[in-house]
Symmetry: C2
Subunit: 383 residues, 2 copies
């Protein structure tokens, strides 16, 4: 008997509270009961983002909310800068192109973050840029992009929005859009919100709001105006993902009970344990600016990462692999959402076991020890 | 203690098998396990629609699949005829207008179906019509629109698609698109498929497929081409609503085990029991062409339908009300999906009790008796 453990960067494991909420008879959405849950959840999403502004949900996966950013706040021919540093950067680009935007595709080597000078250069050359599109945490390369600098850059232009995919950063970091200067921020349900996929979230700033009447791109299902009017009253323009909203009310309760500072600290420790253990084992990290949501790491020379993943599965650990040219080269270990410290010890130990099994010279327990040390050093702060 | 019973036309009650499937730990979507479930489910959706063609799912509510019909198969300026006989007819119109279609808005009194001569006239005057958009079952008025005639009309034109919202007809009737001549058929999860909302389904004909390369409307999240390529292999372009797919595999098993002929017959009997009981109580049906998915009925003169619904709730029955100008005038009783014969006896009896309570002269048990008679007359065929 082997237990299935998900260490994939989405979906992540569901807490029992969420599973219980999902495994219930449906309630009707045009009822005071649902409206109460919806409004409470909306309020808690606002707490999560430290804002009193509109925070909308859509019955879609995260890509739907990405589309909502484009079709509601931009117009045909608008010039936008895409920070394209991985699979999801490509998605911003492709979405922009699909809707006829004039996309400046700033391609960055996978695992690296943007160069400040280059961004400055591009924006100086293109002062009419209407949006900077970026992943806060690029899941495909486990890379964190600094937002503060981009917010400054965006603000220095006449009418530019900072548009942030926070799918694997919201709930890992304290992502407070008003403090940072984010104009559009989206996230999805199957990451740090600890739910199944099928629900997405959108915040928009006052500056972004002024674009709503100007945008000439067609929209209907992802209409922010239509949803905004309804959701403020606890309803939705189209049928909501009822059971995900009910489950979200549970997971947000957990998140707010933990406290956003503790939540961020926990993720930092989980990430540090993982990263330092991998380095201790002699493995090389993929990212020069690693995100606390997941850790990408190269398998040693001569060990195919996808074979390595198969071996891990045999002892009960599922991690993700690399995409495109990183396929077979890296594994990605998630530590966002419903993960605690001993979960990391499990996955690190499993990696040691399989490294050993596949003939890599490894001192068993060395990575685990390093992770334990980090945990103990931090315990005072967290227990 | 009063039990909550949903008799609303979406969401409808979930069967225990579905609740169990939902209340499980999540599985990852990039795994053979999910791919197997997805492909099996796809095959069963094909059985439901009696087709071997592509049947796609989207992580969205039904409106999302309606949007997919527009953006993938039509182009800016295309003339379309909307059979607008209720709230969802209006949605076809509004969607069409949002995407710049040239919409012929054929408005029909709520509760009535289209006039064949009028349709013929419109299409004769507009031989360049590229699509006829209709609800098979218009949920807001509980009205069934005949599709055969529209299919003939559509076929008589040079390049016209019959585009059908089957959200409350698929799983109630045998809706076989190839037999009927439907080019695009969509449905949603929270109706006869007995799931929570958040999943939609799209079938497209060979004729429709030829439009895919011609359509000039922008799309990304609802791209049929992108999904088609992936879903044939058991994957999806963007993260699927994993737990709804898993639950769909359960509900489709139930539907196919019952058999499509039996399923249709059961819905017919449930609907007939309800309609005949209401008439027996002296109430007037809303629709001249009633659908077997739900029954709309006027409350007696002097009894506000929304007050009536509140009284029903007190004894455990939730039905829907009327929308727009029918608000306060009608109630709508659902009988699609997870309903059996005795469920109808419950709701009919509850209606008798509340009619009596609200001072309407009613012979208690009269509606129930009529429903029982219908059931007994049909029992030979169904047990």
């Amino acid at each position: 008997m082997v237990k299935e453990r998900l260490f994939t960067p989405g979906p992540v494991p569901l807490p029992p509270q969420v599973i219980r909420a999902l495994g219930q008879q449906i309630i009707h959405h045009r009822t005071p009961e649902f409206t109460n849950i919806f409004l409470q959840t909306r309020k808690n999403l606002q707490k999560l983002l430290n804002t009193s502004r509109d925070v909308l949900t859509f019955a879609s996966s995260g890509t739907g909310a990405m589309e909502a950013c484009i079709v509601n706040f931009l117009s045909r021919g608008d010039r936008v800068l895409v920070i394209n540093a991985g699979k999801f950067g490509e998605r911003w680009r492709d979405l922009g192109l699909s809707y006829g935007l004039d996309v400046i595709d700033y391609q960055i080597e996978w695992g690296k973050t943007y160069d400040k000078e280059r961004v400055k250069e591009i924006l100086t050359d293109n002062p009419d840029t209407k949006g900077i599109l970026v992943q806060h945490s690029e899941t495909s390369t486990t890379t964190l992009h600094d937002l503060k600098f981009l917010a400054e850059m965006s603000n220095s232009l006449e009418d530019c929005l900072l548009i942030v995919d926070g799918i694997t950063s919201v709930g890992v970091y304290r992502v407070f859009p008003e403090e940072i200067g984010i104009d559009l921020l989206i996230t999805g349900s199957q990451k740090a919100l600890m739910l199944p996929p099928g629900l997405s979230v959108l915040y928009y700033s006052e500056k972004a709001q002024r674009r709503l009447d100007k945008s000439d791109l067609p929209k209907y299902y992802f209409s922010v105006k239509a949803e905004s009017k309804k959701q403020a009253k606890g309803q939705t323009a189209y049928t909501p993902a009822i059971n995900l909203i009910v489950a979200l009310s549970e997971s947000l309760k957990m998140i707010l009970d933990e406290g956003l500072e503790n939540l961020e600290k926990r993720h930092e420790i989980l990430a540090q344990m993982t990263r330092e253990a991998m380095k201790e084992l002699g493995l090389r990290l993929l990212s020069e600016s690693p995100s606390n949501s997941a850790t990408g790491v190269f398998t040693p020379e001569g060990i195919d990462a996808d074979l390595f993943r198969k071996e891990l599965q045999k002892i009960g650990v599922r991690v993700a692999g690399g995409q495109d040219h990183l396929k077979g080269k890296i594994i990605r270990i998630a530590h966002m959402g419903y993960f605690d410290y001993l979960d990391m010890i499990e996955v690190i130990s499993a990696i040691e076991i399989i490294l050993h099994k596949m003939g890599y010279k490894v001192e068993l327990g060395k990575g685990v020890k390093r992770a334990q040390e980090i945990l103990i050093n931090n315990l005072q702060g967290v227990t």
